[in-house]
């Protein structure tokens, strides 16, 4: 049998359907590749995958935490998607989350006597503003002086980490608690009201998804953002001010990441305070998965909802398989790494397609 000759052909425009195919394919490839790792570790991949999802979606075990963490992931994803639509890489969700924490807790500690109906909105607004200012700072530097926003936001992450550190660490941290290295607990009135063991913020994040979708599809600013993200020179010639848009997207992105701080600490019954630095750092690092979710869902804020749940369930379920099957520690993260790699590898198909060579 003769093999058909193949050649590469440049792709000018990726259609929506092709893009979805690429995303789905990258997920499938990740599953296949990870199966090899599981086999190498001496377990049955099918059993392991079953276990991952049955744990993550079982209301008695992993479901509440999974949804809670997936929501955080969705916040982070949305905070990443919006700036990238305008061509800016916000990798500062971690720092914006910490700043949001500062904003929310400052209000809660100062006005802890207020009734929940006033205190909680105030905390949300404050968290949003703190995150927005932190994001907007990077947006301003990029828009006005052309400073690379990736570098800035990454560095700001570190600053925010140490800021929070200084606030909660004894002996001088003003928010230090009784227990070593944690903050004082939040006043009860600041706790997020729950519906079926889940905080109300679980609804807030998808609501923002829908708002962003609306922003991109219907509004003038959304159109300007898309134009700038597609071609800066063309956008500039069409009267779009890149600096203004940069500040706007980074501010709103930062605000979304800031809001997630309230969701995280006031929403999960096991926290309701700022935990030890290694613990809040762990949560902060979770926001980086927002980059991956955002890229795989092709910057579509609606697609980000199921994808966040998918990645969140892998992460929650992944912690269990390590224990249950005695797999090497960290293998759950390997899966997410593979998923990311396969997605990046398949970026190739955004530029080229393989076609059968016709005989001359």
């Amino acid at each position: 049998m003769k093999l058909p000759k193949l050649k590469l052909e440049r792709v000018l425009v990726v259609t929506g359907r092709d893009a979805v195919k690429i995303s789905v394919l990258s997920i499938i490839i990740a599953f296949v590749v990870f199966s090899a790792f599981i086999l190498f570790e001496g377990a049955n991949p099918i059993d392991v995958y079953k276990c991952v999802f049955s744990y993550a979606f079982d209301p008695k075990t992993g479901l509440p935490t999974m949804i809670h963490r997936s929501t955080l992931l969705l916040f982070a994803t949305l905070a990443f998607i919006l700036p990238l639509k305008a061509g800016l890489w916000n990798v500062g969700m971690e720092g914006q989350l910490y700043l949001g924490t500062v904003g929310a807790f400052a209000v809660a500690y100062a006005y802890g006597d207020l009734p929940s109906t006033i205190l909680i909105p105030l905390m949300l607004i404050s968290a949003g503003i703190f995150g927005a200012v932190y994001g907007a700072f990077a947006g301003f530097l990029r828009g006005k002086f052309g400073v690379n926003e990736i570098v800035i936001t990454l560095m700001l992450n570190n600053i925010a980490f140490w800021l929070l550190h200084a606030l909660i660490m004894p002996p001088t941290g003003p928010w230090r608690g009784i227990a070593e290295s944690q903050s004082r607990p939040l006043p009860v009135s600041a706790w997020a009201p729950t519906i079926w063991r889940l905080p109300f913020t679980v609804v807030l994040a998808p609501a923002i998804s829908i708002l962003l979708f609306f922003l991109f599809e219907k509004t003038r600013i959304g159109f300007q953002i898309k134009a700038l993200g597609s071609s800066q020179p063309a956008a500039e010639h069409a009267g779009i001010n890149p600096a203004k848009i940069a500040i706007f997207v980074m501010a709103v992105g930062g605000a979304i990441a800031g809001l997630s701080a309230y969701h995280m600490w006031a929403g999960d019954p096991s926290f309701r305070l700022i935990p030890r630095p290694d613990a809040y750092k762990g949560i902060g690092e979770l926001t980086y998965w927002g980059i991956m979710v955002g890229l795989i869902c092709l910057l579509n804020p609606l697609a980000a909802i199921p994808l966040s749940i998918f990645v969140g369930s892998l992460r929650e379920g992944g912690t269990v398989i390590v224990r249950r099957y005695g797999l090497t520690y960290g293998l759950d993260r390997v899966f997410l790494g593979i998923l990311f790699l396969s997605f990046i590898a398949l970026q190739f198909f955004y530029r080229y397609k393989i076609v059968r060579k016709k005989k001359a």
Binding site: L12, V13, K218, T219, R220, I221, F223, Q224, K226, A227, S230, S231, P233, A234, A235, E236, H237, A238, G239, I240, N241
Partner: protein
């Protein structure tokens, strides 16, 4: 029969050392004035019946500077590519030192001592000048003796008067220095014939002067220098020995430079034919809408590209700026569109000072801009036709309310202008990336012209378009004129400027050489002015 030249070509990669020895042997005992390159009856036809080169004969002697002149489309590039081995001629032979050669690729030409310096630099910006020069040299095998190479290269630079900081990264060098690097690279590889494509187009006056000196000293060492020139005649001609002029793929004249005047050369280049005048609609000029006073601007590379131009445009007037690209037109257009800051001077629109107005404010005033870069600036390829059109509508109250875009109205408008401007596409949801050049330009016109009320700036609007699309664009410009708009037309095509404009300003090195009413403009004179010859 084993000819040395063929032997050099037949040697492959592994025997680089041997090849360069053979090359040295081949070029031994070169005498001044000896014929080093001879092309006989070079003919090249392209699909579609275009005869780019029609039996061209060429003779280059050692140690001479032999300029080849011709307008765009005269066949210069084709000839150059044939001499450098990028294209194969359909007919004709090339002889080097009397030996017939056939190039399979530019590598063959390089190995036989032909060097080429392209108009667009082909260097690696992140490497140093020295690294770029020795890259690909036979001596630079697996292990490079940097110090020895540096010494050799430095000697070459000193010999011909090139001032290059060899340790500087290429991206730090100016355009002129980068050109020097390319020339030294070719010399270092042992070039005896140096083809230069439009060599002075990117140089500043001081750089040009130094560059011309280097050319002379190269010619002094039996290297034949062959500059190919479209428009910038004066500088290179001042040092060349002989000139061959091409027109429509044929050699129309060979002469010695000292016997030629610039006007005569321009005449040979463009031909004698009398101006072909299209029917220019008679429109009474209205009041002045644009007034530009002593406007200057700095280019992306940081030098003063526009050096104080003053002019005005009235309603119903087409003001044509004729010039070779890179003489400040791009900067002028961008300053007028508001995307580049003026470094001096004033822009008045209907009596208001708009020098510092943003692009958006200008769009709202009814100033339209057709940029020269259609894909990068004029449109967004991944946007649909409708979205591209919306780029000129989104800010208008008529198409958006309370921050929301009225997509129904936008769609109606898009459908209307797309049929009006005859954009061939399956529908308004087709992406702009799928449009051909002419169609894309129609889309850009459809986007811009209906939204333009007073002033239209058209920057190279027909460049690269086929005949039909060119005609369409020119007629649309004339339609705008009939509607009473003022139009600024920037073009490299002298015929086009003469055909449609009412007033003509040849631009050279950031300044208008003159401003002439169309009735009094003669092609030869304007053409000479574009290339730097002063008005009498």
């Amino acid at each position: 029969m084993s000819v040395l030249s063929q032997k050099i070509i037949d040697l492959f990669g592994g025997r680089k050392e041997e090849r360069s020895q053979l090359s040295e042997k081949f070029w031994a005992n070169l005498k001044h004035g000896e014929v080093v390159l001879e092309a006989r009856g070079i003919t090249k036809k392209f699909p579609g019946g275009v005869v780019a080169n029609d039996h061209i004969d060429l003779e280059i002697r050692a140690g001479e500077i032999h300029a080849i002149l011709g307008e765009n489309g005269a066949g210069k590039t084709t000839l150059m590519n044939i001499l450098y081995g990028l294209l194969k001629p359909d007919e004709g032979e090339i002889y080097i030192r009397g030996k017939k050669v056939e190039f399979k690729s530019p590598l063959d030409a390089i190995n036989l001592g032909i060097g080429m310096v392209h108009q667009h630099r082909k260097l690696i910006p992140a490497h140093t000048a020295l690294e770029n020069i020795i890259l690909g040299h036979p001596k630079a095998g697996k292990i490079v003796d940097i110090e020895a190479a540096k010494k050799e290269v430095q000697e070459l630079c000193d010999k011909y008067g090139f001032k290059i900081d060899l340790d500087a990264k290429v991206w730090q060098l100016s355009a002129g220095e980068q050109q020097s690097v390319e020339i030294v690279k070719a010399l270092y590889r042992g070039a005896k014939l140096l083809i230069l494509d439009e060599p002075t187009s990117v140089l500043t006056p001081i750089e040009t002067e130094r560059f011309l000196k280097s050319l002379r000293s190269m010619a002094g060492t039996e290297i034949a220098v062959i500059p190919f020139i479209t428009h910038k005649l004066p500088e290179v001609l001042s040092v060349s020995d002989r000139v061959t002029i091409l027109r429509k793929g044929k050699v129309v004249k060979r002469l010695e430079t000292r016997k030629a005047t610039m006007e005569a050369l321009a005449k040979y280049m463009v031909g004698r034919e009398v101006l072909f005048r299209v029917k220019k609609p008679k429109v009474k000029k209205g009041k002045e809408i644009l007034r530009v006073e002593n406007l200057s601007a700095i280019s992306d590379r940081g030098f003063l590209a526009l050096k104080g131009v003053t002019f005005s445009i009235r309603e119903g007037e087409i003001f044509g700026i004729a010039g070779v690209s890179g003489n400040g037109q791009q900067e002028l257009a961008e300053v007028l569109a508001g995307v580049r800051k003026a470094s001096g001077g004033k822009v008045m629109f209907e009596g208001k000072d708009i020098t510092h107005a943003s692009p958006l404010e200008r769009l709202k005033m009814g100033i339209g801009y057709i940029p020269s870069e259609r894909v990068r600036v004029g449109s967004i390829p991944q946007f649909s036709l409708m979205e591209n059109i919306a780029l000129s509508l989104y800010f208008d109250r008529e198409f958006s309310k309370w921050g929301l875009l009225d997509y129904k109205r936008i769609r109606e408008h898009a459908e209307k202008v797309i049929s009006e401007f005859e954009v061939m596409a399956p529908g308004i949801y087709t992406r702009a990336a799928h449009l051909s050049g002419g169609n894309l330009q129609r889309l850009i016109l459809a986007r811009t012209i209906p939204r333009t009320k007073k002033l239209l700036i058209a920057n190279l609007p027909t460049q690269g378009l086929d005949v039909g699309a060119t005609e369409f664009v020119r007629n649309k410009l004339l339609d705008c004129k009939k509607e009473g708009m003022g139009i600024l037309l920037i073009s490299e095509d002298l015929d086009e400027v003469l055909q449609v404009s009412d007033t003509i300003a040849p631009i050279y090195e950031g300044k208008f050489v003159d401003i002439i009413p169309a009735e009094k403009a003669r092609k030869e004179i304007v053409g000479a002015m574009m290339t730097g010859a002063r008005a009498k």
